[in-house]
């Protein structure tokens, strides 16, 4: 029987955080998708790639910022840049390679060429065609408004008014550290395995982003993998260290970021991991001991997943990777996946991880194949005018949010949809055109109300 109290006519506003409701329109409506490109993707900080992909002058890597093709370069002075991949003359892509090394990007259309610092350095028939009137300094490649790095990761935004990256990430940095620091607790030290997985998914990008933000509720999705046992110790999906640990959902309201983690009890004994490979098991034990020494109490945090708003998601522990959900239309997403290992890990460790990553993740991964099936047909079944009358339910754990002294953010224990609510709250604020000034002021006020 239809429950009419839920059949609100097109939930307005789209996101009703107080009641834990989100309209299906935001996953299936083309005009909302277009507004999203302008209000969200053209404003926020977006993940571009990893510094280890462009170690030398002239190295480049083509990436995306939402729908926009961009080039990450390292210039002759070792400086990193992110440019819009389009000739300033007539728009042709100046780079159609995925990665490489070059001194100039020469447009295949009319031959304008640009150096790795973006400067226009070559114009065919310059004197005859432009009669000395072309001011080359005005026609270099379009560069992002801001670019910054954090522990090897490269980020950029088109909005000059956006706060600096460190402010934008805020307390999220603590949870990104769990991803980016070496397993032994030393700072940074991660590198990307060769080969970025790229594939299309027939669903709205937000399905993936919110799943990684904090969906600890979708165990049934992966029942088949739990039955088969693909984890690095031959059981389940990943090594199990959950006994006696506390599941935390962490929302960073100041930025709309989310993470999940397990907090071990104090004096929790070492739990063997990677038991299918003695060398990796030994490395994991070594890292565990070093981590305890380096991080002390902070070593108790075992990372799970997270989403840096809006579309940079990650698995910080097993399988350790970064995912970016590039919008390609309201019902299409181009997923990219970077896989991380400790730079200094023994080769056998890297190889075991590589096999595990392929077995678990991406379109060939036994686990994630089922995620994509769910996102695919959730999108499909939400398109109709009748379906769209019924908002999704995000009420799990409402009113049970709290704070802790040891880890930052708004924190809920156990299973909760707090993180998804935080994600959509920030999405709605940006869609409403809220200024960075107002967003920052709001965050400061909220911090005051909910201070430790």
């Amino acid at each position: 029987m239809a429950q009419n109290h839920r059949a609100v006519s097109r939930l307005q506003p789209w996101v009703d955080v107080e009641n834990g409701l989100v309209s299906r329109d935001i996953f299936v409506d083309k005009s909302i998708y277009q507004q999203e490109q302008e209000q969200v993707f053209a404003r926020v900080w977006l993940f571009i790639g990893h510094e280890s992909q462009v170690p030398n002058p002239g190295d480049y890597f083509t990436s995306f910022m939402g729908e926009e093709s961009v080039i990450l370069t390292r210039d002759a002075q070792h400086q990193l840049h992110v440019f819009l991949n389009t000739c300033t003359h007539r728009g042709m892509k100046v780079c159609r390679y995925d990665e490489g090394n070059t001194t100039v990007f020469t447009c295949p259309y009319h031959g304008w060429s640009f150096a790795c610092d973006g400067q226009l350095v070559g114009v065919p028939h310059d004197r005859a065609a432009y009669r000395g009137q072309l001011d080359r300094s005005q026609w270099g490649l379009v560069e992002v408004a801001q670019m910054a790095t954090y522990k090897g990761t490269v980020w950029a935004t088109w909005d000059a008014d956006a706060p600096p990256l460190m402010t934008y990430l805020g307390d999220m940095r603590r949870y990104l550290d769990v991803l980016l620091d070496a397993r032994d607790g030393s700072k940074g030290g991660s590198e990307i395995l060769g080969g970025i997985q790229k594939w299309y998914m027939p669903s709205n990008w937000k399905f993936a982003a919110e799943n990684f933000a904090g969906d600890g509720y979708h165990n049934i999705s992966h029942r088949s993998v739990d039955l088969v046992g693909i984890g690095p110790s031959g059981r389940g999906r990943r090594d199990w260290e959950r006994d006696d640990t506390l599941a935390l959902n962490i929302s960073i309201p100041e930025g709309g970021h989310s993470a999940m983690g397990f907090l071990q009890k104090e004096d929790y004994p070492f739990v063997p991991t990677y038991q299918n490979s003695p060398i990796v098991e030994e490395y994991a034990r070594y890292c565990y001991e070093e981590r305890q020494k380096r991080l002390g109490n902070d070593a108790r945090m075992i990372g799970r997943v997270g989403t840096t708003f809006p579309n940079m998601s990650f698995l910080s522990r097993q399988p350790r990777s970064i995912a970016v959900w590039q919008p390609r239309g309201v019902l299409k997403t181009e997923a990219w996946r970077w896989y991380l290992v400790d730079k200094n890990a023994p080769e056998e460790v890297k190889d075991t991880l590589r096999h595990y990553y392929m077995r678990y993740s991406g379109p060939g991964g036994l686990t994630e194949q089922d995620d994509m099936e769910n996102w695919n047909y959730a999108s499909e079944a939400s398109r109709g005018v009748i379906a769209r009358r019924y908002p999704y339910n995000y009420q799990m754990g409402m009113g049970f949010e709290g704070r802790r002294d040891d880890w930052p953010g708004q924190i809920s224990e156990g299973i909760s949809e707090q993180n998804q609510r935080g994600f959509y709250k920030r999405w709605a604020e940006l869609m409403a055109g809220t200024s960075w000034e107002a967003l920052t002021a709001k965050a400061a006020k909220k911090g005051h109300n909910h201070g430790r």
């Binding site: 159609r96 390679y97 995925d98 990665e99 490489g100 395995l193 060769g194 080969g195 970025i196 997985q197 790229k198 594939w199 299309y200 998914m201 027939p202 999705s221 029942r223 088949s224 993998v225 039955l227 088969v228 046992g229 693909i230 181009e334 896989y339 190889d351 590589r354 096999h355 990553y357 392929m358 077995r359 379109p363 060939g364 036994l366 994630e368 194949q369 089922d370 994509m372 099936e373 769910n374 695919n376 047909y377």
Partner: protein
Amino acid sequence: MAVDQALGRITLEHLLLVREIEEFLYHEADLLDDRQFEAWLDLLTDDVRYWMPMRRNVKFDDQESENTRELQDMNWFDEGKETLTQRVRQILTGVHWAEEPLSRVSHMVSNVRLLQATPEEVQVKCRFLIYRNRQQDETDFFVGKREDTLRKVDGEWKIARRKVILDQNVLLAKNLTVFF
């Protein structure tokens, strides 16, 4: 017997061997398309290598780096029998949602050529076209080249190595639940 420039002086013996190998490949395709996944696993040697690289857009003079590297980089597949067996077992759980209900799949194999042949081992190259349809209208085509090493084990041909070159950069399908 090197047979790659054999055109023009093809022997009857060679033709019979080509037919035998074709027959093996068509039988394999039938097993997969008839969803006899466990029987398909029996066609693989215990030390089988199954590799499908990802493919980059690279400059003309940089073609050797077009494919991700076996045993070194991330690939679409770079595995042995253990993982392939896990893939089959996953489908057989009946709760692998990406293949539940099962997709309708047809493997087309063509351009079969023997590159090397000894009585115990052949290297065979072919093209594949795999059609997948699931639910109502979800449809994928996977097209590319395959290079297999087949080895005689107890008098039967088995697949000892398979290299799959899929002609795609960004994977156009949402997943790779089919066997290549």
